[in-house]
Point group: C2
């Protein structure tokens, strides 16, 4: 079964890489196109695209729409990293083992590349292409905009900024992560589902799955920030503690954080079982990969 | 006729202000919502929303869709100003007579507010609301994404960055402005048109109108940067020359730049006459206002 996921993912990852390379333009003016491609290509685990494609497969979704949605979500993720790494935010110089975009291209170009990647995400979702129904295009734009904006990812980053050096309750920490990383992960699942026509029960189950998976991802991220080294992570390890950021590890301790991640994996599994969908194996194994990853 | 435009605009401006105030959330986390509202409300001439509404009126467009499109375009414009003012870009401290967003809220919050405003623009265009047809939602998202991204506004800003201290040909300068400010102004017109069903001839005429108007706007901007003072402009005057940026005035001289603006107004007028649409008075007078404005 684990071998199956590998095959399933490697086939889909190849599609995603090819599509991203085709759709992120090299010919944007000045060095903008180069910076956009640098930010997006040859890096990243592509978890979000795989979640989109796994959910779309589970509901028998429109393949062309799903590939666009997979790439769009990854572009939003990539832009958020570019902006997050800027000196006025996390001021990070290493990402996926490479110099960050502003180190390689300068701050102004990094800022614009992030802005252009966000616009490109919505451009991919609304093509002048009759094979992607208008209804699907509109739903995908709706889900992505909500997840990326002030009530989602950007809002979570704002809470994160305001929380440095403060103590949060576990509820506040969970709320921050629900927005900061959870919203886009959950949207990936729901966008995949929006590529087909799933019954309400399936959508509710997928929503629960996405919620548990999003939170699990962050708990494991916090654990790895403490237990892994920079080379394995491909980014600066230990920076949460260095920046005095509240994390699940600082709040619960390492053992309870690990137990919480395992509990969330069970929640994700249980939610999938309620969908009534025939084949949710890819989604299930993706959740296992998220919890058991080493970087 | 001039009085009519005043009445037409003041009614529509009131709608736009009310809608923006309702749709830009005050409850986004931390200070994000405050920064977003500060960037958008109580300022700006709202030229782009008026172009959307004027074009929608001309084609008998869906009023609800047009109001959403008008606000979405303004949000993209507002976010671009917030990012453009950041220290790593133009490093400007004054905008519409007020401290810029990063001066008032800090750089990190300004960055996130811009990001969240871009997402909110697409959120407005893709509501879960059957009164706005899916087809219209998808077209509006498509037009806005293209105009905002690397082949539009963000691309123009990248050319602008790369051009500081260099000499451009008039063609290169025109290309930069077509992207940097022209793309969004033209998209405003075409988004208004996309709220209805206009024949191809009307769309072609509106496209020509939008192109001429977009360029005229920039030529006049360059003229005002030289001839007006900061108090009238509500932003720092003379900054193009101070930053050694190529402008229509530095390239053509003041007299020829003025003549060019007048010529573009004639082009806009001529293009409107080819649309075959019954009532393009608002669009015509908006073009006159753009060319004859004092700030």
């Amino acid at each position: 079964m684990s071998f199956q996921l590998k095959e399933w993912s490697s086939e889909r990852l190849e599609q995603v890489e090819q599509a991203l390379s085709a759709w992120v333009p090299s010919d944007a003016p000045a060095r903008l196109g180069d910076a956009m491609r640098y930010a997006v290509l040859d890096g990243g685990k592509r978890l979000r695209p795989l979640l989109v494609l796994g959910a779309s497969d589970a509901v028998g979704g429109n393949g062309g729409a799903a590939l666009r949605a997979a790439c769009a979500v990854e572009l939003i993720h990539a832009y958020s990293l570019v902006h997050d790494d800027l000196p006025c935010m996390d001021n990070d110089v290493l990402r996926r083992g490479k110099p960050t975009v502003h180190v390689a291209f300068g701050e102004a170009t990094a800022l614009l590349a992030g802005d252009a990647l966000q616009a490109l995400a919505f451009q991919l979702l609304a093509p002048d292409d009759a094979r992607i129904p208008d209804r699907t295009q509109a739903r995908l734009c709706r889900l992505l905009a909500l997840a990326a904006g002030g009530a989602g990812m950007a809002g979570g980053q704002a809470i994160d900024l305001a929380a440095v050096g403060k103590s949060l309750t576990e509820d506040e920490l969970r709320h921050m992560h629900r927005l900061k990383t959870g919203a886009l992960l959950q949207a990936s699942v729901m966008m995949g589902a929006a590529c087909g026509e799933a019954p309400a029960q399936a959508l509710a189950g997928l929503e629960g799955y996405g919620r548990a998976l999003g939170l699990a991802f962050q708990v494991v991220d916090d654990i790895l920030d403490v237990t892994a080294d920079s080379a394995t992570l491909g980014k600066t390890a230990g920076k949460d503690a260095a920046q005095d950021k509240p994390t699940y590890v600082s709040m619960l301790g390492l053992d309870r954080a690990r137990a919480y991640a395992a509990e969330l994996l069970e929640q994700a599994r249980a939610a999938l079982a309620t969908t009534g969908l025939a084949d949710t194996r890819a989604l299930l194994e993706l959740a296992e990969t998220v919890v058991h990853r080493e970087n």
